[in-house]
């Protein structure tokens, strides 16, 4: 049985063939803590298992496979991927916010709240990216106006997310709809511009990946 890290042989003490893939992931995560890299996927022989497939990871054991390749990404890798996906996600946020607002104004609160969770996921994704850009692309951003714009957008998003939360707590549905319909599209529009400028600075970011991991 071979255990690899991004295609390179990896030697780990105390790992026996009987341990599960989940236990292997835990052990390797511990060892990678200082490197800034994150495990994304396990390639076990011809099977691909995402790090989010916890059930699968917990039931499969090392003994079942000949070769296990642990695939990781750095924060920068993740950010580059996120920039690549951003157009699609911005579109999703806009559409979802518009639909939730319309439902709220028509009194369809239950339907709106189901969809609103997805909108919030999108906004949290954006917030997380804006927060980590400063780490991932610090060098590229330091000499440009992108950093103050990033910070401004991050703060504006944080303020509007607080408004969303407040309106939701007060069941002020029209107030919630207003933020979703009028404020969020402005934020996503600014986000699109910011990310487009960033992609110019970081040519690899957002390029279609030659991803042999599938």
């Amino acid at each position: 049985m071979n255990i690899l890290l991004n295609g390179q042989a990896l030697s780990i003490e105390g790992v026996t063939p009987e341990v599960t893939l989940a236990e292997l992931v835990d052990t390797v995560t511990e060892e990678l803590k200082e490197s800034g890299a994150t495990i994304m996927e396990i390639a076990a022989d011809d099977i691909r298992i995402s790090i989010e497939q916890t059930d699968e990871l917990e039931t499969r054991r090392l003994v079942e496979f000949e070769t296990i390749d642990i695939l990781t990404a750095t924060a920068r890798d993740l950010l580059e991927m996120a920039l690549g996906e951003s157009e699609e996600i911005f579109g999703f946020i806009d559409e979802s916010a518009r639909n939730v607002a319309a439902d709220l104004r028509n009194g369809k609160v239950k339907e709106a709240m189901e969809r609103h969770l997805e909108t919030l996921d999108g906004l949290e994704w954006l917030s997380s990216i804006l927060k980590h850009l400063v780490v991932g692309f610090a060098a590229e951003m330091s000499e440009t106006s992108i950093e103050p714009r990033r910070k401004q957008l991050f703060d504006r998003l944080a303020a509007q997310m607080a408004e969303l939360q407040k309106a939701q707590e007060h069941t002020d549905w029209v107030g919630l709809a207003d933020v979703l319909e009028y404020e969020i599209p402005e934020i996503t529009a600014e986000g699109r511009t910011l990310f487009a400028d960033l992609r110019e600075l970081v040519p690899d970011a957002g390029e279609p990946e030659n991803d042999d991991r599938g």
């Binding site: 709220l104 104004r105 028509n106 609160v109 029209v174 107030g175 319909e181």
Partner: protein, 648 residues
């Protein structure tokens, strides 16, 4: 708070006195800081209401007008004739609704319901609402209870014009007053099913009502009205005897309370009471059908019982019953005609079942508590009514050697018992469509009744908003005090009735003259139809007509539009010709929408109207003539003439 539009809006609001009065009362509290008017980003006013420390935004703080358009567009589909606006707020939706509906439209086709007068005061203060307040298409309920608002909606509606109703809901108002609007919707559903039912009833039996009312007119004019009984039995328990199958469980107990309770019987249970030696104090009759008049066969000589009748009741009942009689009215039919020439009759509610009227009479008499027996409103033990009612006679007629009374009754129940009701005790009961509606009506009314209401049916399906107790327990809990009910009734019934026979005679003669004038007009109109229909121009559109043909066509339209200008006669015509009126309105709408409609098509439809008016004349003129003849025979000694200006 700045109020730039308040003065002008209040002036316009005077068209709606009931809302004006509410607003006047609310103005004093208009400084309440929990209502905050703020400009939206586009400058239009918006409103934020603090409720228990939580701000509720009433309209978009960015663009309230666009928001309203979207809400209305989502709700108001094409072809909807009527709109119910649930929550007015600052009124942005209504303006767009009125833009979308055709002008001039239908009177009161939009009903606005705003539960919070303070919100309405803010709307009057910050927006120019004169146009919508002056628009005859709009009716208003502000600060009214859900029942009042629902009743106002139902009462103001032209049901023949209602094709489809849209609810436009203002979400923040709905959230804030959720139970209120749920109740309104329940009320609207209930009124709709009932009133559409009324319309159908009118189509099939309207003539019967009208014919009976004219036949009874001379008698009813001289009868004391049930209005004399109103508030005369304050605190006296009343028992309403309906004719459901459970009546047999406790009917025998009624004899024990006759000297302490006011006993009101419906027509169907009257014979059963008499058969058991029990005389109610009052028996009610209002059914126009011959079948129901059979309820009085064999009990015509019960002179200790007061018969209260509606003018539309089958005339056989009035002529055969020998006891004292009083008149009551449901407010429709000939009520307006009769009450102009006599002391007030006393108006009672009616929702299809005479039990509903009995209940209203007990309420108006101020009786307390009001107890029901025999109010099953469901089929019980394979039976429709208590034994001995006329329905047994009717079913018995169907019995032949291969069937039985029970079989015929059960077959009826199996066919009609479409509503299955799970009772709180786990049993299941069945009821038909009509009884299902009556049940809703009673439960709706019980919650609006000041007096204690008890259902002592010991069966049936009426359980909401009412205390259910066995009648024996009711007697023990409310023993009552001895009351000379019979004596009070006799005294009230024998006092002279103020009536104006000469006045009524004069009015009927005027109506007869108007009908003759209309007949002349009809003859002229028929000749014009013949000319226009036969001319070469028949294939043209009306806009293409010139010269004499154009003048003749215009004259024809004038006769069509003004022939029945008399409100009184038009109401009678619409009752007699209900089906035609409904079809004619739809046909005219279709012709107006078609620019290519020919003169022949128009003349054909107008001629159909004249034929319908002629049928009405053939029916109505003999009724008036007979009434005039009978009134002329009224002996002067029996007439107490009302003087001009007598308040009645």
């Amino acid at each position: 708070m700045e109020m730039p539009f308040l003065k002008a809006n209040l002036k316009a609001l005077q068209r709606h006195p009931h809302v004006y009065a509410t607003v006047e009362r609310s103005l004093a509290a208009s400084l309440d800081a929990s209502y905050r008017l703020e400009p939206a980003k586009n400058g239009l006013p918006t409103l934020i209401v603090e409720v228990e420390g939580r701000p509720i935004t009433y309209h978009s703080r960015y663009d309230p007008a666009i928001e309203a358009r979207r809400i209305v567009d989502a709700a108001l589909q094409a072809g909807r004739t009527h709109v119910l606006v649930l929550g007015y707020g600052l009124g942005y939706s209504l303006e767009y609704i009125l833009e979308r509906l055709p002008v001039p439209g239908v009177s009161k086709q939009v009903h606005v319901i705003e539960p919070d007068p303070q919100v309405f005061v803010r709307a009057l203060s910050c927006r120019d609402l004169q146009a919508v307040l002056n628009d005859p298409r709009v009716e208003w309920s502000v600060g009214a209870s859900p029942d009042e608002a629902g009743e106002r909606w139902g009462a103001g509606l032209d049901w023949t014009a209602l094709e489809a109703l849209t609810l436009v809901e203002h979400a923040p108002s709905i959230m804030r007053f959720h139970a209120y609007f749920e109740r309104i919707k329940e009320k609207v559903r209930y009124l709709s099913s009932r009133s559409k039912g009324n319309l159908v009833t009118l189509m099939y039996t309207g003539n019967e009502f009208h014919t009976n009312a004219f036949a009874n007119l001379p008698d009813v004019l001289g009868m004391p009205g049930v209005g004399r009984l109103f508030d005369r039995f304050a605190g006296v328990p009343a028992v309403i005897v309906a004719a459901g199958p459970s009546l047999e469980k406790n009917v025998h107990l009624l004899a024990e309370v006759r000297d302490r309770y006011l006993i009101i019987s419906v027509d169907t249970s009257f014979r059963q009471l008499v058969a058991r030696g029990i005389r109610p104090h009052i028996v009610l009759a209002a059914d126009p059908s011959y079948l129901n008049s059979l309820d009085f066969v064999g009990v015509e000589h019960e002179t200790d019982v007061v018969l209260a009748v509606e003018p539309m009741t089958h005339p056989d009942i009035l002529t055969s019953f020998q006891g004292p009689k009083m008149a009551m009215t449901f407010g429709g039919g000939l009520h307006r005609l009769i009450d102009r020439f006599r002391e007030p009759t006393g108006t009672l509610l009616s929702w299809g079942s005479i039990s509903t009227t009995a209940f209203d009479l007990a309420r108006r008499c101020a009786c307390d508590p009001i107890v029901f027996v025999g109010l099953d409103l469901s089929f019980q033990d394979g039976r429709l009514y208590a034994r001995g009612s006329y329905s047994d006679d009717v079913f018995y007629d169907r019995v032949h050697p291969y069937t039985s009374l029970e079989h015929e009754t059960v077959e009826y129940i199996q066919t009609r018992g479409v509503h299955r009701i799970e009772m709180p005790d786990g049993t299941t009961r069945f009821t038909d469509e009509n009884m299902h509606i009556y049940r809703s009506w009673f439960e709706d009314q019980f919650r609006q009744t000041r007096q204690k209401v008890i259902n002592a049916t010991e069966g049936g399906v009426v359980t909401k908003h009412v205390t259910c107790l066995p009648f024996r327990e009711v007697m023990e809990t409310w023993p009552g005090s001895p009351v000379p009910v019979g004596g009070i009734l006799r005294e009230l019934a024998k006092a002279p009735v103020r009536q104006d026979v000469p006045g009524l005679l004069g009015h009927l003669r005027e109506l007869a003259a108007e009908l003759r004038r209309q007949q002349n007009e009809l003859r002229r109109a028929t000749a014009l139809c013949r000319k226009l229909g036969g001319q070469a121009t028949a294939g043209s559109t009306p806009a293409m007509l010139t010269g004499p043909a154009r003048a003749q066509y215009q004259e024809l339209l004038d006769i069509h539009d003004h022939l029945l200008d008399s409100d009184e006669l038009y109401a009678w015509y619409a009752t007699h010709q209900t089906r035609f009126v409904t079809r004619h309105a739809a046909e005219l709408k279709r012709l107006k929408a078609n620019d290519d409609a020919t003169v022949a098509a128009w003349v054909g439809e107008i001629a159909a109207f004249f034929a319908s008016a002629d049928r009405f004349h053939q029916y109505q003129i003999p009724l008036i003539s007979t009434a005039i003849e009978r009134l002329r025979g009224t002996r002067a000694a029996e007439v107490t003439t009302m003087t001009a200006g007598d308040p009645g």
